[in-house]
Symmetry: C2
Subunit: 222 residues, 2 copies
DNA sequence: TTTTTATCGAGATGTTTTTCTCGATATATC
DNA sequence: GATATATCGAGAAAAACATCTCGATAAAAA
């Protein structure tokens, strides 16, 4: 029997439910329904129900779910109520941007140190987080029991840095480099594929233009 | 008949094939096979074949595909050989990071101007791109026929800015805000859901820990 | 109190996506 | 020139995922 039988598609939707629920709560709404969530986020209401079911939250006929309960259930299910310390490697523009995000703590991740190969960047503090020479990562990661590594280095350095992370006991990597890392299967890798996103965008735009200019088919032609 | 019958999953994989092929070319390799690409990127080789088929590229038995041809086919299919001008709104940390990325031009997108609501940020140049007050966006976007908008503003401003973009004739939005935009169906929206990514990461890590500490099930309990 | 209604949750059905299977073919080897 | 082999591409099978259907139920309305 599989340890993790929750569809990954569900895992990807839960955070967006979560943020929507936070906004509902801010507005003072106390209860909501699968139908409301689905309509706001463009997901079929039965799908929303199935997704929420995996968190263990129960709704009541005619009233739906209490917003507070749902938020708590999702947090618990995603383990977002337990913050893990993370190291970030690559204190360039993107790395700096991530260091500036306060919101990640709400998503279970606190960046406690950043690393960079360039001595020019090391030694300073960025957004209150110290930037250290990358050579110091292995020892520190081991001693601090760091579980999460965030990879914001250029593509050609990503594999080597990832291996260093894994060697230092890091178990999960949030990878922003446009590369598929080759690591032991036990390591959890989550890619933020910016270019995939751009591929979809660009293709859809091209198809739309082609359709608008009269041609019905989207193929590349005979 | 649907205009666009290519699976979105395929569109998302093509960019990663593309980057892998660029690296192969750099190393001087002239031909490759679906099996090689699949092994490197963790995709089944028959899946790679189906994906490449949509670009129109043909392989030859025993030799595979010419790397150059494949690169060109993917570029053409994604329309990455035609660069579109884009406006970015939200010149904070993340926006600045994106402005610094040279690689997007290779993916069909050139950021020609940035906008920000804060007068403190407007007027300067960031990474060689001028930052303007957001009020100037509609007029400029219309006059320059801007098709792509990049949204890197805080969540609570995202909807309003998106509407401004659409009103100014922008047809596709690359959205980094953790919110589902409510826009006319004709508008192409591509979300970069950083938190979805973190949700998957966090959940998998939690499941792994639970599994390691003896318990077999990953549920939230009875 | 009875009826109506909004919502849930479980199971059946349908669709999309991925993987498996197998015959065809171009190159390389004998 | 004949045989072997790596690779392709098309179609079948399997798996994953989304949608539809329907009975149950708690609250609200009559």
């Amino acid at each position: 029997m599989r340890v993790d039988s929750v569809p990954e598609a569900t895992l990807r939707r839960l955070p967006s439910y979560y943020h929507y629920l936070l906004r509902l709560r801010e507005k003072g709404q106390e209860a909501t329904s699968a139908a409301q969530i689905g309509a706001a986020l463009g997901v079929h209401h039965t799908q929303v129900r199935k997704d929420l079911a995996v968190t263990g939250s129960q709704g009541r006929p005619k009233v739906g779910h209490r917003v507070d309960d749902l938020i708590a259930s999702i947090e618990e299910f995603l383990n977002w109520n337990n913050v893990s310390d993370a190291f970030l490697v690559g204190a360039g523009h993107l790395g700096t941007a991530l260091l500036g995000y306060a919101g990640f703590e709400r998503a279970g991740v606190r960046i406690v140190a950043a690393f960079d190969a360039s001595p020019r960047r090391a030694g300073r503090k960025v957004q209150g987080v110290p930037v250290l020479p990358v050579e110091k990562l292995p020892d520190l990661a081991r001693r601090m029991h760091i579980a999460i590594g965030i990879l914001t280095v250029p593509a050609d350095e990503a594999q080597a840095v990832a291996e260093m992370m894994v060697g230092a006991g890091i178990q999960a990597i949030w990878n922003f480099a446009p590369i598929v890392l080759d690591l032991p299967e036990a390591v959890i890798v989550e890619d933020v594929a910016l270019y995939s996103s751009l591929g979809v965008l660009s293709r859809k735009l091209a198809v739309r233009r082609k359709a608008a200019s009269g041609k019905g088919s989207a193929g590349t032609g005979p």
